[in-house]
């Protein structure tokens, strides 16, 4: 697979990548190393994994991290109820003790959670470990074994080696600093807000029915609004939502009252909304959108 193939895969699934993204994804596949993607919210970090899994026609296995996530939820668990039932049945049938012991800790009673599932697939899946910075530090160090040796140790069964090395993508938006050990095992990609031209492209690709002029106006407006000091800066996801909403209303260009009425799609914090409304005139002037008077 060449670097051009990766670019084709991404673009053919409505993802508009820049060179850095293509390069990192390519290297991550070629070197079989996990790729750590960081960047502000809503710039399409998770999207890469989805697109990649479709493009490679590989299964997408997703592990959403949260505080308190532990090995049991991420890796494997014994199906305790089933083991108990099985024991009861076998007792009635008078099975021998050794046989039972072997039986009960076999794969049949193993509940596979995302990580174990990812390494025991016949065909390499795409493993997305989403928002890794939300998990505890302990979980992070627990991941190290998997990410560097591609194996998982289960005390009762032994070490399970990966059949095929999955394509691993980790995402984070820096709610917490990740450990150096994890960072060093990964390739790194930082995705920032897209440039003006790229955002127009994205809008037109994602919302095909959108008016060309409207797309340009939305992109310009978003570009300016991101320069403001906001509690929560809107990402590309918000621009797409906005574009979709406006296209649905068959609107072909922005004006002041329209922005005031639909700002809630873009900004999700009341202080931000207030701040943006206060400086709306300035914003409009910068983006060159004429305000309709009367």
């Amino acid at each position: 697979m060449s670097i051009e193939d990766i670019r084709k895969i991404l673009t053919s699934h409505d993802y508009i990548p820049d060179d850095a993204i293509v390069m990192s994804v390519f290297l991550s596949i070629r070197l079989s190393k996990p790729l750590l993607i960081e960047g502000p919210a809503g710039v399409g970090k998770t999207e890469i994994a989805k697109v990649l899994s479709e493009g490679l026609s590989a299964e997408l296995i997703r592990l959403q991290c949260y505080e308190g996530l532990d090995a049991g939820h991420a890796l494997y668990e014994w199906n305790y109820q089933r083991q108990l039932l099985y024991l009861k049945i076998m007792e009635r049938e008078g099975a021998s003790r050794e046989a039972l012991e072997d039986e009960i800790f076999s794969e049949k009673f193993l509940l596979k959670r995302p990580l174990l599932e990812a390494i025991s697939k016949e065909k390499s899946p795409v493993l997305l470990i989403d928002e890794i910075d939300r998990a505890d530090e302990e979980f992070e160090s627990f991941l190290l074994e998997l990410l560097s040796d591609w194996q998982i140790s289960i005390p009762e069964v032994g070490t399970i080696k990966a059949r095929n090395i999955p394509y691993v993508l980790l995402t984070g938006n820096r709610t917490r600093e990740l450990s150096e050990a994890l960072r060093r095992r990964c390739l790194y990609l930082w995705i920032d807000y897209p440039s003006l031209e790229k955002e127009i492209q994205i809008l037109r690709r994602k919302v095909p029915e959108i008016d060309t002029a409207l797309a340009a106006e939305i992109a310009a407006f978003m570009h300016e609004i991101r320069q403001m000091r906001l509690e929560k800066t809107p990402g590309v996801a918000e621009s797409i939502d906005w574009g979709r909403a406006l296209a649905e209303l068959h609107i072909d260009h922005l004006d002041r009252s329209l922005i005031e009425n639909t700002l809630g799609v873009v900004l999700k914090d009341w202080q931000d909304v207030r701040r943006a409304t206060d400086s709306l005139s300035e914003l409009l002037e910068k983006t060159g959108i004429k305000s309709k008077i009367g």
Binding site: M23, G68, G72, Q81, L84, R174, L187
Partner: protein, 381 residues
């Protein structure tokens, strides 16, 4: 994943020489790169087939950079490297004609390393320093007298301290998914409803102490000696502790939490300097604190919040405001700690107008001018 690399990578080519050199240059700039990283970079270059200087650079950035600021500064470093390489090469040529000219000892280290390589001198690896505990001599030294190295040392110390603070456990227990400590009482209770058989184990762990910290730092002129250091301190602290909000104030209040979180220190300092025109200006503590509690009082202050104020208490605003603001802050937070760098002086009395007003609403009033006092103040948290 063993490091089995094809033969043609092991062979020394000018590309791999260049790469090793660049890696060495990066190490001198604080990057930690292992041999495996270098091997990965070579493999990556091989896979991509170098087409342009741009692709060479991008491969290296993907593999070598580890965090946002490394990612951002990488291009600059690469350019700098190329420039220095050129300079080192010119030096070599010149040197052949003027053998007697002495080098200036103040040359940059990376340049020296490059030249060592060009002249084929064996690299002198970093020699080990004789060990003594630097902390001993630092404990009582005033912050404003410290050298940059000492500051760096203290900042590292602070970061560890913040990390420790983050993992402090409360005395309360909560149900846990980690199977370490069995909660017998809850296990029994939850299994009663199924009769006598215990089929579900319940575990517990200590609740983490979810303490929130709000830092308010004075950067007015009277604090000039200390403020750069304090910002550095806030930076170090925020890297280690995540439930923290950081503000600076002089005549107006600024939230710098996001700036500190997204940039490395020097850049953050630069941005703060640009954004805050009143840097080193006068102080209006009262107004700023009023402003703080009006805007953020409800969202940031609660019973779990500790408010840390770093200021000398010289207020030029109208009287009464500071006292009122302090009363409100005190009422809605867990603890108010006022750290004053002047208070380290034995003859200091908190008798400035501002301090007198604020004093009744402060839970802990402590000096913070050297490491020992800082440590004591942290204990109060």
């Amino acid at each position: 994943m063993d490091a089995e690399y094809p033969q043609d990578i092991i062979r020394q080519t000018s590309i791999s020489g260049h790469l090793v050199l660049f890696s060495r240059f990066l190490r001198s700039r604080g990057y930690t790169l292992s041999l495996l990283d270098e091997a990965d970079a070579l493999k990556g270059l091989q896979a991509i087939g170098i087409r342009s200087a741009r692709s060479y650079f991008m491969v290296l950035r993907t593999i070598y950079a580890n965090n946002p600021w490394q990612y951002a500064e990488f291009e600059g470093l690469y350019r700098e490297f190329l420039y220095e390489l050129k300079r080192a090469y010119n030096d070599k040529v010149k040197k052949q004609y003027h053998r007697s000219t002495q080098k200036k000892p103040s040359r940059q280290r990376s340049l020296e390393a490059l030249k060592d390589w060009l002249f084929n001198r064996p690299a002198q690896e970093e020699s080990v320093m004789g060990s003594y505990d630097p902390i001993e001599s630092l404990v009582y030294k005033d912050f404003s007298m410290m050298t940059p190295d000492e500051v760096t040392y203290i900042l590292r110390l602070l970061e560890t301290l913040a990390r420790r603070l983050k993992h402090r456990k409360s005395r309360l227990n909560k149900r846990s998914v980690k199977r370490r400590r069995l909660d017998i009482r809850m296990t029994m209770r939850s299994n009663f409803r199924r009769g006598s058989e215990v089929g579900r184990w319940i575990y517990s762990e200590r609740k983490p102490k979810k303490m929130r910290i709000v830092l308010l730092c004075d950067v007015s002129r009277s604090m000039d000696l200390y403020s750069r250091f304090f910002i550095q301190m806030l930076y170090a602290f925020q890297t280690g502790y995540d439930r923290i909000h950081t503000f600076v104030f002089s005549t107006a209040l600024f939230d710098i939490t996001a700036i500190l979180a997204h940039h490395n220190f020097n850049r953050a300092f630069e941005i703060i300097g640009q954004r805050i025109p009143q840097w080193s200006g006068g102080t209006r503590i009262g107004n700023c604190l009023q402003n703080f509690i009006d805007e953020n009082g409800y969202s940031m202050l609660n019973r779990k919040t500790t408010v840390l104020i770093l200021s000398d208490g010289w207020d030029t605003g109208s009287p009464g405001l500071l006292g009122d603001a302090m009363r409100r802050i005190n009422k809605s937070s867990r603890k108010v700690i006022w750290l004053n760098p002047l208070a380290g002086n034995p003859s200091y009395e908190p008798d400035t107008m501002g301090m007198v007003e604020a004093l009744p609403y402060i839970d802990v009033f402590a000096p913070v001018h050297n490491l020992e006092s800082l440590r004591k103040a942290m204990k109060a948290l």
